[in-house]
């Protein structure tokens, strides 16, 4: 039998097949292709963040609830992150870092979330107030530091700075943090004018060169801050006389003569901050953080629930196209499935209710 004859036989056999059989055959081919595990190289959005958690003592204020139990800001933030982590698309990278005093300390450089999920969770669980190396909370400087850390890592990671915005010692409004593109690249912050602007938080990068989010945690009402010893044992609450109520910088240095005041560039005395006597209490400094975030061109998100944080983190502006091997099997198998469903619903096939035997089956009862 020649090859052509063989093909003719095959063609006849196929022609004789019902629609159901043909659909089954196509489904079979699709499934056989799926067995070779074809992949489609494409990209999908991934989100890289260095997450900085404020571990200062104000973060221990209990103004959140998880399952009806009071919990601290830090715990709530961790709880939220625990939910967000598995929801991030694979390929995203997360690193952990903590903030105290005026700086952040990177614990884990960003690593892929799906493969290292348990490890990342483990580290997150270990983050707590006992890690703090000093009792101070200069949030603005911390944010700048975290932005610098991200740059130092060299990646395109975003900054995610989770804080309640409680500056301690308090920050005089005239010392609002500024972005200083002109300043020389250098240490933690730029010493501009030794006499006037010392200790004013300054960021030495270009505005907007680091993307990210400041996430505000905490309640609206002022609450006392639990006082903990270095090993984490509670020692009551911070008293009004135990914390600085005014900022140290504009108040003048201890060594200065009495009445010496700080002056601005024009030589005018800078208004001293009026003590509010509420610095031992803490609430979310929403407006301050939002304004600050605007100034340093970061986003601001007020933490309310995991879904909200996830939405904020997966905003298109933070997306990085990560290479991704799309599984073509799903496509093939789903088409095969649909074909089989069609094959088994005669109504969809528009086939006659039943075929008759015989040669004249097609035109029965039509007399001519």
């Amino acid at each position: 039998m020649s090859l052509a004859d063989r093909f003719a036989g095959l063609r006849d056999a196929l022609r004789g097949l019902s629609m159901r059989s043909r659909l089954t055959g196509v489904a079979m081919l699709l499934l056989l292709i799926a067995l070779f595990e074809p992949h489609w190289k494409t990209t999908r959005d991934a989100f890289d963040f260095v997450v900085t958690l404020d571990v200062t003592q104000s973060m221990n204020v209990m103004d959140y609830e998880i399952d009806g139990k009071e919990t601290s800001r830090l715990n709530y933030a961790k709880h939220t992150l625990r939910q967000v982590l598995p929801a991030l698309p694979c390929g995203s990278r997360i690193g952990w870092s903590i903030f105290t005093e005026y700086r952040v300390l990177l614990l884990v450089a960003p690593i892929e979330v799906c493969d290292n999920y348990h490890e990342l969770l483990d580290t997150l669980d270990r983050i707590d107030g006992r890690m703090a190396w000093a009792n101070a909370s200069e949030v603005a400087k911390g944010v700048f530091w975290s932005m610098r850390s991200v740059k130092e890592l060299g990646g395109s990671h975003g900054v995610l700075f989770i804080t309640d915005g409680h500056e301690s010692p308090p920050l005089n409004p005239v010392l609002r943090p500024v972005l200083d593109a002109k300043s020389e690249k250098g240490q933690g912050y730029t010493y501009m004018d030794q006499t006037t602007w010392q200790n004013k938080p300054v960021y030495d990068g270009k505005p907007g060169d680091v993307r990210g989010l400041i996430v505000g945690v905490g309640g609206e009402t002022l609450k006392p801050i639990p006082k903990l010893d270095p090993e984490g044992h509670p020692m009551g609450y911070w008293g009004a006389d135990e914390v600085m109520q005014i900022d140290v910088i504009t108040a003048g240095r201890t060594g200065s003569a009495a009445g010496e005041k700080m002056v601005d560039e024009g030589g005018k005395a800078v208004a001293t901050m009026k003590p509010t006597m509420t610095e031992h209490l803490s609430s979310l400094k929403d407006a301050y953080l939002a304004g600050f975030a605007r100034e340093v061109e970061l986003g601001y998100h007020r933490l309310s629930d995991p879904a909200g944080l996830l939405r904020a983190m997966t905003a298109p502006e933070f997306a990085r196209p990560a290479p991704y091997q799309a599984d073509v099997r799903v496509l093939l198998a789903s088409i095969a499935f649909i074909l089989l469903v069609i094959a088994h619903v005669p109504a969809l096939l528009r086939i006659p209710r039943a075929r008759s035997l015989g040669r004249q089956a097609g035109k029965r009862f039509s007399r001519t």
Binding site: G16, L17, S18, L31, L105, D122, R130, W133, A134, F337
Partner: protein, 341 residues
């Protein structure tokens, strides 16, 4: 054997599973009319085959559904025995580690720079991290944990074999400058804590990398002694000698003041603990390398560890079943008589 857990990654697809019953409903397709079925002799083989084909068709659809739903066995822990140790890396994160490791004999005064970035010399911390990361990369069976210490201990990760995580944590140590203070006692406690309440699975080790010693209070000494002995932890101290500092071992001609230097007293304390203890003095990069390769040579006892058996995807198996089923159905279709001879 443990029961095999199965899970679905896309359980939404399971909603289409009832469609797999469609082939079981006798719907008209591929049928030929025959005037009276009573004329057809009863034939168990045919009946069985008819059911078989319908069941195969249903199974094919069910298998595809399972495949689409991402049937898989989640990763499961399995006990493995390898060669290595459970090692807690206890890293000094103090600012002095940012200084360059000067070759012996160099004068620190000759070096002027802030963080070693101007000089072609690597900082102590950076070198330690680089060697540690090579160390862990070469020892895949080790379980590594990491604790940083400065004013307070910062446990970064507990025992893991995930290189990603280990390298991520070691890399992180290089970002930003060090912290100001050191509290070695609490650092050691935090490191020893990792072994507390942990089943003994292999040799246990704390690998302390620091560039200075510490005077420990008597209370802290007592706590350390207890916890290190109870957990049978070995201690390796890689002492990165600062320029100008004396070594940890007594040398002839040392004054009494030198004898009471923190590193000396700490060394003596460790020696007196009665636990496996080794101290390495790394004065230059080569020495540091030697010290770390020493550890890697010595600590090769069998270790029992849990390995995560990676998730096994059954989707391809499901599709294979479906494809074979389809093959049967198609073969049956080719055998089908749709016209009388």
């Amino acid at each position: 054997m443990a029961p095999i857990n199965l899970a679905f990654s896309e359980p939404g697809w399971l909603l289409s599973a009832p469609l797999a019953l469609l082939p079981l409903l006798r719907r008209d397709a591929d049928t030929v009319n025959y005037s009276w079925l009573a004329l057809v002799p009863p034939d168990p083989l045919s009946t069985a085959l008819g059911w078989l084909l319908r069941i195969v068709a249903a199974a094919v659809m069910l298998a595809i559904t399972l495949g689409l739903a991402g049937l898989h066995r989640p990763q499961v822990p399995v006990e493995r025995v390898g060669k290595g140790a459970e090692i807690v890396l206890l890293l000094d994160r103090s600012r002095s580690m940012d200084e360059p490791l000067l070759p012996k004999g160099s004068q620190p005064a000759l070096y002027s720079g802030r963080r070693g970035e101007s000089a072609d010399l690597e900082s102590k911390g950076r070198m330690a991290r680089r060697l540690l990361s090579e160390f862990s990369a070469n020892r895949p069976d080790d379980l590594l944990a990491l604790v940083l210490f400065s004013a307070s201990p910062i446990p970064v990760m507990s025992f893991t074999q995930k290189q990603d995580m280990i390298q991520g944590a070691i890399t992180a140590g290089g970002v930003g400058k060090g912290l100001s203070e050191t509290d070695m006692g609490r650092g050691l406690l935090a490191a020893a804590d990792f072994f507390d309440q942990r089943a003994y699975a292999g040799s246990r080790l704390i690998l302390l990398v620091s560039d200075g010693g510490a005077q420990l209070e008597p209370g802290m000494r007592e706590r350390l002694t207890t916890v290190l002995k109870r957990n049978r932890i070995g201690l390796y101290w890689i002492y990165i000698r600062s320029a100008g500092a004396r070594g940890i071992r007594a040398e002839a001609g040392d004054s009494e003041a030198m004898e009471s230097a923190p590193e000396r007293s700490l060394h003596r304390f460790f020696e007196g603990l009665g636990i496996p203890y080794r101290a390495y003095e790394a004065e230059d990069p080569e020495a540091l390398k030697r010290a770390i390769s020493d550890v890697s040579r010595l600590e090769n006892l069998p270790i029992q560890y849990q390995e995560m058996l990676p998730r096994f995807d059954f989707a391809t198996r499901c599709y294979a079943v479906a494809a074979v089923g389809c093959l049967l159905l198609f073969a049956a279709a080719l055998m089908r008589v749709r016209r009388w001879p």
